[in-house]
Symmetry: C2
Subunit: 201 residues, 2 copies
């Protein structure tokens, strides 16, 4: 059944374009906003447009930032010789949450995916090469998702950076903490045996 | 970990106020919008604010409408002697989708729920009583959800409308089509036996 109002239809159609939001959820969200105060709804709309219009990206790591250099790159207590290459800002936050990493980041803004029309030139790869060529970085840690696209991107970057002679590593792959061995997939389990760590290591 | 940008933080906080949207989902939605064209994002924001500012409600049934009278109330082919009382516009759409009902509606805008501070005066109940008092309606069908709040509201309206002498009915409750009898809850199964329908009826 079509919605009884064109205004409602427009708002629902726009919400339904968001990832993971279908028409039913979109309608629920829109009707929720409809019950809110006008000021609150305008605040919501302003927050979205001003973010899109005024957003900055750190000129060094390309993470979202309010200034030219993001808080992580500006932090003098961090190890400036190590750079962790990630797909997007959520990955930066996930790694920061572990509190196990004290180096800098480089946000690619995606991974190479021919099926989605995303090639190396759409990502922050040349800026990464420039950054390594400056010479102060000693190690590059590849922390992309272990998918076909992630592995392709890692390999592409590996080939691009090999001439610079920088040390390159990849985050460990294996059985996740808390997983049942019997239910782990064969590839992961197989790799976890090949890449076993010694107790004294 | 706090977000690296205040603009991002504001947008995420506003999205996370929507029902069923947590901070992680909010971040995903906001980052999606960030990758869209500026015009597209402004269109999204406009759709939301203009809906909130310019929305109308049908003066007869209180459904959302672009005009003073909604398409359902304006439709001369519908049975104007039957009114179906529902909680909200989603319920109107759900019933319309069944294509089994040809009467009019009355949208309460919620149900009586003291715990949420919603009393009878917050709902379109007095306008329903006025509408029935006009005399052209012959039957009122209560189609509220079979919850504590829904039943309380149905009973309250039943008491309010009883003096008018209008015929009142309630949508059938019983085993849902496709349900396994063994897994049905006791109250529903018990009621479905008490309210059994005869084959010739």
């Amino acid at each position: 059944m079509p919605l009884p109002s064109q205004l409602l239809e427009n708002a629902v159609a726009d919400f339904a374009k968001l990832p993971g939001i279908g028409r039913k959820t979109a309608l629920r969200l829109v009707l929720f906003l409809l019950k809110r105060d006008v000021n609150e709804v305008e605040h919501f709309a302003d927050a979205v447009t001003s973010l899109r219009r005024d957003v900055c990206f750190c000129r060094q790591c390309h993470n979202i930032s309010d200034d030219e250099v993001c808080p992580i790159c500006a932090d003098t207590h961090r190890d400036r010789t190590t750079v962790c290459v990630v797909e997007n800002i959520q990955d930066v936050m996930a790694i920061e949450n572990t509190q196990q990493y004290n180096g800098l980041y480089h946000v690619l803004g995606g991974v190479i995916s021919p099926i989605d029309g995303i090639g190396p030139s759409d990502l922050e790869i040349s800026s990464l090469v420039d950054r390594i060529n400056e010479g102060s970085v000693k190690e590059v840690i590849m922390a992309l998702s272990p998918t076909m696209e992630g592995d392709t991107t890692s390999f592409y970057i590996y080939r691009k950076l090999a001439p610079t002679g920088v040390k390159m590593s990849q985050i460990a792959r294996g059985i996740a903490v808390g997983d049942e061995l019997a239910y782990a997939d064969e590839v992961t389990l197989g790799r976890s045996i090949l890449n076993r760590t010694t107790y004294d290591g």
